[in-house]
Symmetry: D3
Subunit: 276 residues, 6 copies
């Protein structure tokens, strides 16, 4: 099991049962064992297998889990994704943590798959943002990938992205980009947020590697892309939804980024069904 996922799931288990599971302790025999099925209650992209599995294994390493539907596959309502066998108390204690991860991650993967499909006829890719929920970035970004998206920078340390507030603090876009280009590590590109064609020109002149076209209509994006030289990548963001994503993707932009796929997504519906 992955070191970091192990630590995260351990903490989630301790958050949910700091002193153990009193209900199971009072009602279930210590040695009883059960079989339970992770069952889908709606159509979705299954995601979160390692988190689900770790929730059970970390409580009792003798629990066995069989997987029928691999991560990333569509699952229909009433289909069984995995079957869990082992100590009843441990299964009951792990159930909610395992489901909380699985339903949330599958919800994200499903939403991203929907967007990816909508723009599938173009070369444009859907990417995530740093608008993830605290402590869940690893799980959420993984779900975006499983859904068919691409991960934007994982954190503030791993890529340069000059946003409106940086530009505001520096004074103008040209200087901000120049400062970054001048001293950036050779492995890094400089991405900069622009909101109109003039800013785009300044950014290009200053040596920007990637333009983040923020809150601009598809029509305007098309015009800006016309002046963007080869080798400079483009990303559109701001108010992109399933309804308008295709229009954005068809502008020729390389990527569209959406915050809602990590901060406002509906959980997929799965439950753990015990065999009688």
């Amino acid at each position: 099991m992955d070191i970091r996922i192990t630590k995260e799931v351990e903490n989630a288990l301790l958050e949910d049962a700091p002193w153990g599971d009193i209900t199971s302790k009072l009602t279930i025999d210590k040695h009883q064992s059960s079989i339970a099925h992770l069952m889908s209650k709606s159509d979705s992209v299954a995601c979160g297998h390692e988190y689900f599995l770790s929730s059970f294994k970390l409580l009792d390493e003798t629990i066995s889990i069989e997987t029928y539907i691999p991560e990333g596959n569509w699952v229909k309502s009433s289909e069984i994704v995995m079957t869990v066998k082992g100590n009843t108390r441990a299964i009951l204690q792990a159930e909610r943590v395992g489901l909380n991860y699985f339903c949330h991650m599958s919800g994200i993967a499903t939403e991203v798959r929907k967007i990816a499909t909508l723009i599938g006829s173009t070369d444009c890719k859907v990417v995530d943002t740093r608008k993830t929920l605290p402590h869940l970035r690893l799980a959420q970004k993984h779900a975006v990938e499983v859904g068919g998206g691409i991960n934007h920078r994982m954190d503030l340390s791993s890529a340069i992205l000059i946003k409106d507030n940086h530009i505001c603090a520096v004074g103008n876009i040209y200087d901000a980009v120049s400062l970054a280009k001048d001293r950036s590590p050779h492995t890094m590109n400089v991405e900069v947020e622009v909101t109109d064609i003039d800013q785009a020109r300044s950014a290009i002149d200053a040596g920007a590697d990637i333009l983040l076209l923020d809150n601009i209509t598809p029509e305007q994006i098309e015009k800006i892309i016309e002046i963007v030289p080869d080798g400079i990548r483009t990303e559109a963001s701001g108010g992109i939804t399933p309804l308008n994503c295709k229009a954005y993707a068809e502008t020729g932009v390389d990527t569209i980024s959406m915050g809602y796929i990590t901060h406002s997504v509906k959980s997929a519906d799965f439950s753990l069904e015990f065999e009688d």
Copy 2:
């Protein structure tokens, strides 16, 4: 600052900038200072003040923050909730973590307030569940309270709730409740999930203190409540939404619990606007 919130926000800050904020380091002077406003971009219940504030204070304790709209108040679009003053690099580094907490928590508080208002003419209370996102239970349950809801048990250790899978493992509801009543601490009640009037009768006979009426229509709930003696509390759950919550509340049930308010809620829209 609260010990636990401090630890959670510290971890969120480290998650978002394991090696610092390279963009700000390259573009912003170390000693520059700025003023920035937490501005609402839609109507919502403001929530998450301590998390937002800690995000900045933990990066730089000399940052000062003035609060105009206290937690729990409605805020209209374009209103300023707080103003942040201090070192520009620190503000830029803390911005996203602070907003990620604030937008998510305000989203929950707003949704709960909506439900609380819809059922405001009854004595019924809205409560949350354990369907919270991993590592966010403290923040999410706090937002439910701020919204006007009541917290269900915080974790598996702090209350007894016999669910369908426990009953399945024990064999029948009467035995499950009896086992729990027999050995439960004197401070704890025994709550049990029932799905029809016969189960309710068995649960009452076995001494249950609280009935969780799961996936039952309001009409059926009314009939069950007729047979529930005084002193036994009732909770309805399963498929309750803003559309049908009033019908449930009017059955006379003491509480309605909803999972979606913590696992599938839309973030409220706030941004941090720098003064020029």
Copy 3:
């Protein structure tokens, strides 16, 4: 192994050997193996099996341990509880930590068993308090259960108990109870400390679910219990000892709580005897 017990025992092992066990490293061959017996040196209730076992297993997972006397059983002086086989250095390093847990937990279980036996002819139960030693609550409360007691609330978050200082801060008992009842979660009861029959009446009138009868003589408790309606539970505390516990239990009170069983208990006497 339980996640939380594992973490606690790991920390105890690191506390006792931050840089390893230099004596064993200097005197014992790296590959030597030994057999050692956990032997009782007095009569007591054996308790702490998982802690003892984890102390050895966490240092060397190839150590094997056979258990002869299960947790909760009486063990006589000179009886062997468990036998440990494996690497000598690891056994010597784990020995003290394992014994420190086992002797302390068995000491508590033995004392609680004594009280439980003394009041065994009544329906009254012995319960613990929050007067546990820091970082040892899980282990100590477990030992109370093994001894035959019931756990009071695990922590400040999991039950409501209005004590003298709360009443002092609020001003009077009626208001304190009313405030709590008015806003308490539906899963929780309100327990309140009362010191005479008038306070008991006020508490009952305000809706208290449990009365904590603190520092009152058995005679007075009997009088108070006469006015307590069915459904309200009672707990006696304050100066209850093995000498007077039966008198308290016979008053009809539901539970008696004692702090000394966790904060002032004598360790049971066990040692680890190496086979020649």
Copy 4:
């Protein structure tokens, strides 16, 4: 505040209130402030000031604490040791953790002071052992010092002590001591447990620096000490109690060590009294 004490008290506070103090939240106004006195309810040596103080300061750094009786002083029943002023909720939440440390540490200091006084006419010193309660070694060993004792080794890494089980594993005492002397760091002495005069001779011949005279009568100890050359220190242990400690001290042994002062001591009685 000391880094390690801060971490330990933080963990103790989180252990006692993982989700906050619901009773105080429901009954006490957020902005109320109180004055409370740490009052002795029996005669004892006051100990644990920094732990007590940290319990409050870590929850609310604006709480002020005045100290009247310094650590190590005798306090009589009904005397006030410290006065705490500040936010009522924070004081109520910290109270039990602060008292749990203070009562336990004062109990140890008082017991050690009693022994130190009993043997005060000799040059013998009372020392502690590694029979401390898990996670409490720092606090307990500090209390031993405050009581007038001397700390034995803090852990397995910081001194060499060859015990019966090491000798059993090596085969004989001479070889065990020789192995240790041969390879021990120049800063370390080699202490070895002996149970009769022959073992003492072998230990001395092999170069032992310190003899641990375990489970030997005072009369026998006197005879052994006669053959111990200058420069070799001696320690008596095993069954030493307040009743016989003077007899041991008068044998001329340098130190007597006692496990019960850390594993089986009675808490001192202190309470926190709120001003009306």
Copy 5:
């Protein structure tokens, strides 16, 4: 103070004094205060100010520190960099940890400055590698920057670098680069290690953004650079030392990376001198 540096220095302090500083406790009065100077004993680039300062401040926040020579400046032998004033025990306890950081980081900064100066007439930059000492990456990479170098990727997660072992596992360089280019995030470049001109051609054809020219002579590098199109960056590595770095830099390569500056550097010599 930076959250991560604070955590790292706290751990370093606990590593060096798990139970406090017994020498200072035994010899120095608790209330004594001293003045001590961080003095250079050789010529070097001063580096590690925040780590040095935190070592003292974390032990006692009332210690004051005055800085005369800012980070990055050359300091001559016998010059004073900072002056520390405050509690003597705290200064003595923090001294070694503060010096261990400062001497190591200054050693790195000095070595990097030397290289940067040697290649100062070219546009080539000196960069570090992932050959840092475990747990010291943040401090070491900071020292490289202070010395005048540029940081290569901070970790395996923040940039793509296909090395010989990846190529070996994939089978050939073209496929390895193609796989990476095809699925890499839009913010990331693909860097690939090449060892001759044929590999360089394959890498360029496959779309590599950066070429790592490993273990190649300056003469060969010049030839390879001739075929490298504009926009593709180059890095030389392998056996580059102060003696040959200028020859590498003059080939026209963009950066030269050296492992020895973090894994085999000599500490700079500083001591803490107490005022009499």
Copy 6:
């Protein structure tokens, strides 16, 4: 695996790959497996086996490792120390962390072995200091032992060493030693730094157990040793190098301590070679 080493290597792995290894994820098939050899590229003493092994095992417990050359043995250039077999992605991710430990520890062991050999004709031992790199004390001190050295005190808590700054703060050496002797635990010796024969006399008169002869020429040390009574150990330090260590060792001093073997040592050269 050792608890502490496990924690340290886990943290090193997370430091090097907070979000996983993107290069391997993009280029290597998830199920591919490889064989790789830890090969020496120069002559050195092999050291760090458990750290190297843990780096791989912690990422994937199914990886198998065969060891050909045990810790402490000389290895020649091009010899294979261990062979690693298993999942390719896991091997590639663990490679650098494993090598960073192994090269650094082998570098230390090699340097210490060199010194130990140089002074091998005397009874003098080489010892380390507290001048270790932060967070690496356990690994570095282990390497010193493997090289043939002896560990000085592990930390400030485990031995008493009065240095120049203590003496400066106390006022004179006699008082400093007397204070320490008077109150030191019976297991501990008092070591004190002296810089000339007069200080040595004062230290001896005050009862010092060990003299640290700091920054004195071999000739002067010989003179001081003449006046040192039997039973008092001696340590030389300050400017001792491979060039002059034999002269120091031949003075009759018991130990020579050197800081550079932990703070300024050159890494040994090893690489991980994949089989085609």
